[in-house]
Symmetry: C2
Subunit: 215 residues, 2 copies
DNA sequence: TCCGTATTCTAAGATTCCTTAGAATATCAG
DNA sequence: CTGATATTCTAAGGAATCTTAGAATACGGA
């Protein structure tokens, strides 16, 4: 691995900024923040050609934001440590604060559903009047989820509506703050007469807020 | 499995990363973090051609990291708010943590002088056995400094050695963690028999640590 | 009014980065 | 060993960004 110790200080600092300066890489980092994945899974989840995915991962690795391990013929990537995850959260909060265009893009992409904050949900976890639904894939659910949440991937939701109590308020969440799955679930639930809201920040927001996890 | 929306969001997010991806811009931000400055002062302090300075400032402004005000024929730039300053500190801490090359670059540029941490200095401020010396310019000093510090710009230090008590420990600081001025001051002081150490992180580290200021 | 200073805008060459095709590597199964 | 799969490496065209010259703007002062 090439090291550049004699490069001036600000050039070194900029290496982190450069790693965070491409939409493709930011998207990969968000996907990786959920759990470890293979290169192919990453390419699929982020909708990026495989070869490009691999090339971007090399750059992220050079900046020490991700590490990898090989298992047989596959290579699994993950964020180097929780500090990377925390820093990504801070970057997103900072950008959200600062860029009205970002807020607009999020609103127009997700719709203007008022959500439940992680803090509020944490307080209501024990309340039987609140039912938490994890609409991510079963694999994502298995890797870690909000305590007490039940797993109902969005594609299965229509068939499992009867399992949900009509009188409870349903809180649905998916991957992260920019994930469109939980707003869709909420719309579907409301159409069928349920009281439902999305979880602000999704699973990532929950984890970044240092809330408890269950596996 | 298209769990992340198609795109504009990550493009927006990347705007912040892009702003932080150039050594030139990072240097300007560090200079601005000390205090408001005109374009020409910035160009001088960061050792960058004037036209380039102006062009980079436009980009920083587009990302809402800096704002400007006009006063007569000059334009003064400053960081938009303290959150920008805090975020820059976090970026630097994160990069420092992560890149061994950055630590090497800092060491080779500043020398391996053990410094005083901001926390330690804060505890010893009332102690008369500790003398704090601000070796930045008189203008920088006037804009804000460590309480009780005396202003002795590096260029004047040799002529003012007699004003400093031999029995005290002297803590010298300059602008930021990458500023070379205070290590030079410390070397000069030690050559003349003083016990001296630099302040880790300089004035920026002090301020980012939420320590008290004096003007 | 016109002039001088500080800064920005426009445009273009130089450079760096992104993306992807094709070849190479690593591992496992047979 | 050979073949199959997953990933990386190398190289190159194209896109985006950096830098800076020259023209333009904004302001204060004579």
């Amino acid at each position: 691995m090439a090291q550049f110790p004699e490069e001036p200080i600000y050039e070194q600092l900029a290496r982190v900024g450069k790693a965070l300066s491409s939409p493709v890489r930011l998207r990969l980092l968000d996907v990786l923040d959920q759990r470890e994945r293979t290169v192919e899974e990453l390419a699929q989840a982020a909708e990026i050609p495989l070869k490009n995915t691999s090339a971007q991962l090399q750059q992220l690795r050079a900046a020490h934001l991700v590490t990898s391990r090989r298992e047989g013929t596959r290579v699994y990537y993950r964020l180097t440590d929780e500090r990377v995850s925390r820093f990504l959260g801070e970057l997103q909060g900072f950008a959200h604060d600062r860029l009205a265009d970002l807020r607009d893009a999020v609103r127009s992409r997700l719709g203007a559903l008022e959500g439940v904050t992680a803090d509020e949900l944490a307080r209501r976890l024990a309340d039987p009047g609140t039912v938490v639904v994890d609409v991510r894939s079963a694999t994502d659910y298995a890797a870690g989820h909000v305590p007490g949440a039940i797993s109902v991937p969005l594609s299965d939701l229509r068939d499992h509506l009867d399992d949900l109590p009509k009188e409870a308020e349903i809180v649905a969440y998916c991957g992260g703050p920019y994930c469109v799955v939980s707003p869709e679930a909420v719309r579907l639930l409301r159409e069928h007469g349920y009281a439902a809201r999305p979880l602000d920040g999704g699973f990532l927001g929950w984890r970044r807020g240092e809330k408890p996890l269950e596996r």
